[in-house]
Amino acid sequence: MTQSDSGVSAANGAPLVVLEHVDKWFGDLHVLQDINLSVARGEVVVVIGPSGSGKSTLCRTINRLETIDKGTITLDGQPLPQEGKELARLRAEVGMVFQSFNLFAHKTILENVTLGPIKVRGQKKAEAEKRGLELLDRVGIAHQSAKYPAQLSGGQQQRVAIARALAMDPKVMLFDEPTSALDPEMIKEVLDVMVDLARQGMTMVVVTHEMGFARTAADRVVFMADGAIVEEGTPEEFFTNPRSERAQDFLGKILKH
């Protein structure tokens, strides 16, 4: 029933993720101010902005790891449910990659990738492992599948985290500063995987400081400052000709070196 409902509402061309008039406060701090954002199917949206601008919070509201105080968020036509089984079901459709990787420390690499498919999707272990190994191969970690997360480098862990999210066949992938905790030489290996994903048509919301990635892979750049979306546009427009003073200032600071 719900299946066909969402099928109807998600008719081709309808945006996959829609945020309307979203507000959020942390105590007195107004971290998200009247956010309106829609992400089309297959679109890659890169969110940039100074620290504390609310971009990570925005990313985390989309699978309700952060709750919102006002406004609505819909995913594939369905409003985000309250905490419970429904929400868990919806989160399974949204892949998330964290700044600090958050691989399950007590599970092997392969178990990290197969836990969701087995427990949430009810797949057979053998089936989940076969697919898990394929995904690990795709991100170049298949030969390390029996190791534990702490035995891998940061870049490798983050690629496993991407494979773990992909194992759920998500409709959209959220990346919350995926390269911010990595050494410079490991950033590229993670970005390469992300660029690949973008090319294959994955819908992505990426919070990042990697301007190079934004230029190559983004369909749209969203610039946030002080909890609000200040400006959005194609990477070309945004990087060569930012309209707002805030964005000009930000780009001036980060592109100088």
Binding site: L65, M96, S100, N102, L103, F104, A105, K119
Partner: protein
């Protein structure tokens, strides 16, 4: 040490009875304590309140009072079981509050990102606890859980004083009161019986701790 050597068979059966009592109490308090700990971190406010009320009441109530309730309170309500059973129930209730808190310290030591990642792939709260949080929480809670359980082993002697029957404590009482043996050798024998249990538990803990250690 003659009274001990002459009554080794009695000591042996007392040792086994105490051990049986302890094993039941251990398993029961771990299960109940884990459940209460899950309540205390649950997203449902009513369960959280119940969990913290349980810990507050039980942890702050002397063990002897809990056991008096079991020995004399429940029979007044028409609930009658052997004191072996009541003793286990009392000790499980009492110890589970401490297990809960030891485990909660372990849960707090699991980085929040672990639970977030689990929820992000669609695990429900109970799956997140079972698959991701608790296995890691147990690992870092091994030392405090060990202390709690060793305390429980010794508390089983308090339950023994209420009359479990046939346990190490009552062996001591039988030999001194009924048969008139001297206290020092008899009680030394009882103490050795408990030491065998607690020291081997300590050794087992050290092994467990080494086995479950995870790198972060």
């Amino acid at each position: 040490m003659e009274p001990v050597i002459d009554n080794l068979d009695l000591y042996w059966s007392g040792f086994l009875t105490s051990l049986e009592f302890i094993v039941y109490s251990l398993v029961g308090s771990m299960l109940l304590g884990t459940l209460i700990a899950a309540f205390r971190v649950s997203p449902i406010a009513a369960l959280r309140s119940f969990g913290s009320a349980y810990v507050t009441v039980v942890r702050n109530c002397p063990l002897t009072i809990v056991l008096f309730f079991m020995a004399f309170g429940l029979p007044e309500l028409g609930i009658n079981y052997s004191f072996f059973t009541f003793g286990i129930v009392g000790l499980v209730i009492y110890t589970s509050a401490f297990v809960c808190e030891a485990l909660r310290s372990g849960i707090n030591a699991v980085p929040a990102g672990q639970a977030e990642a689990a929820r992000a792939i669609g695990l429900t709260f109970s799956q997140t606890m079972r698959e991701v949080v608790l296995p890691q929480a147990f690992r870092s809670a091994v030392p405090p859980l060990g202390s709690v359980q060793i305390a429980m082993f010794k508390n089983s002697a308090v339950a023994g004083a209420f009359g479990i029957g046939g346990d190490l404590y009552s062996v001591g009482r039988t030999l001194t009161s009924a048969r008139g043996f001297e206290y020092i050798p008899v009680l030394t024998g009882v103490a050795i019986g408990y030491l065998v249990i607690t020291l081997s538990a300590g050794a087992a803990l050290a092994v467990i701790e080494r086995k479950v250690a995870i790198a972060r």
